[in-house]
């Protein structure tokens, strides 16, 4: 077994390199089940994190979005099919000040029954589970990421 290469922060200056055309679109905007997910990333002072990069993926879907000055990001996704448990997207968070990236998951608010029996959600303290479930916001879904503080998002260790 060879030691894995250690992680380092993505730093603040990736915005000219990592974004790509239509990077936030994991699925076609005009596909019938396309859903827009919007959110913001906040730090421990509840200030927006304007230099984060998020990736959302599951199955054949992959999207990348850099946050703007308001810490805001968005993805266009469809709800992934599941064979077991509740549907979710993997979300990876990179930023200046994160020496390693963070892993979390976004679950869907209209899957109450599946969410209640999902094995991964079941490992999370009930009081924190809500941080992993997007909320309905008109036509869109809303999913904020709080790196610290009250309602800190649940992150997973590999």
């Amino acid at each position: 077994m060879t030691a894995p290469t250690p992680s380092q922060t993505v730093g603040p200056f990736f915005g000219f390199a990592l974004p790509f055309e239509n990077d936030a679109l994991a699925t076609a905007v005009d596909s019938p089940d396309a859903t827009r997910v919007e959110g913001q990333v906040f730090d421990g002072d509840s200030e927006p994190v304007g230099d984060a990069l998020l990736e959302a993926f599951q199955g054949d879907q992959f999207a990348r979005c850099r946050t703007d000055g308001e810490g805001a990001f968005h993805f266009t996704v469809h709800k992934p099919p599941v064979s077991d448990g509740a549907p979710y997207l993997n979300i990876t968070v990179f930023a200046r000040g994160l020496l390693r990236h963070l892993h979390t998951r976004m679950y869907f608010p209209d899957e109450d029954r599946a969410n209640r029996v999902d094995r991964v959600l079941g490992l999370v303290a009930e009081s924190r589970r809500h941080t992993l479930i997007a909320r309905r916001d008109g036509e869109n879904l809303r999913f904020d990421v709080r790196l610290q503080g009250e309602s800190e998002t649940v992150f997973f260790a590999l």
């Binding site: 200056f13 730090d43 993997n90 994160l98 020496l99 590999l158």
Partner: protein, 227 residues
């Protein structure tokens, strides 16, 4: 082998930006089989053109600075090559200035250098970039904070666990021991893994110095049947 000491912690007060961004809760640990075998992102939508691997040929003229070649192998924890995986790089120019609009360091931009590249590893896991050696630059972490010259790397690999974003440093750089970001790695042997070596086999005589830097991604050989 405790590889944990090779990974930086989230909170490292010497690197001030970690203070408000490091999560305070312990991460929720999932059983290996639920997470380690989760396939990684399908990165095929990210465009990779042949010219993306030569950062000195992306503009009308050649960039200023010391032309270099950076090459190495991407391996998994079993030492097996990671084939056809995406490697993204980005860096400051030879004067220590990023093209990024957020960089206000008063060093000159170079109209012949963007500093971003992409390549896929070959059948043996090799990547190769031609670029110029980046300059050191100041940052506001503390008085007289200067980052050692470095190139940022982003790699995918086959699984969720293999995703890696890191930085490559240059051998003999006197700023290395002073850098709170590299020093966040607890074990000095872990820090060594981020320092390339000068490699005369990679060097092209009368043209460019070569540096060799191998990268090991977490996780063993991709076993789709386990996924």
């Amino acid at each position: 082998m405790n590889t944990l000491d090779y990974e930086p912690p989230y909170l490292h007060p010497d690197y001030r930006s970690t203070e408000l961004r490091a999560p305070k809760h312990e991460p929720v640990v999932l059983p290996d089989e639920w997470f380690h075998n989760v396939p990684g992102p399908v990165f095929g939508r990210i465009p990779v053109r042949d010219e993306d691997a030569d950062l000195t040929r992306q503009h009308r003229g050649e960039p200023l600075g010391e032309r270099i070649i950076i090459t190495g192998r991407v391996l998994d924890s079993d030492g097996q090559p990671v084939r056809k995986t995406l490697v993204e790089v980005w860096q400051a120019n030879a004067a220590g200035r990023y093209v990024d609009s957020a960089d206000d360091h008063p060093a000159p931009l170079d109209s012949n250098f963007t500093g971003a590249g992409r390549a896929l590893t070959d059948q043996d896991g090799f990547y190769r970039f031609v670029t110029v050696k980046p300059g050191a630059y100041p940052w506001r972490n503390h008085l007289n904070a200067w980052r050692p010259a470095h190139v940022h790397f982003s790699l995918f690999g086959p699984s969720l666990a293999s995703r890696l974003v890191t930085q490559m440093y240059f051998p003999g750089d006197p700023l290395i021991p002073l850098d709170p970001i590299l020093s966040s790695i607890p074990d000095p042997r872990g820090r060594e893994l981020l320092i390339a070596r000068l490699d005369l086999d990679t060097t092209v005589p009368d043209w460019a110095l070569g540096y060799r830097w191998d990268i090991v991604l977490r996780g063993g050989r991709a076993t789709p049947s386990d996924a």
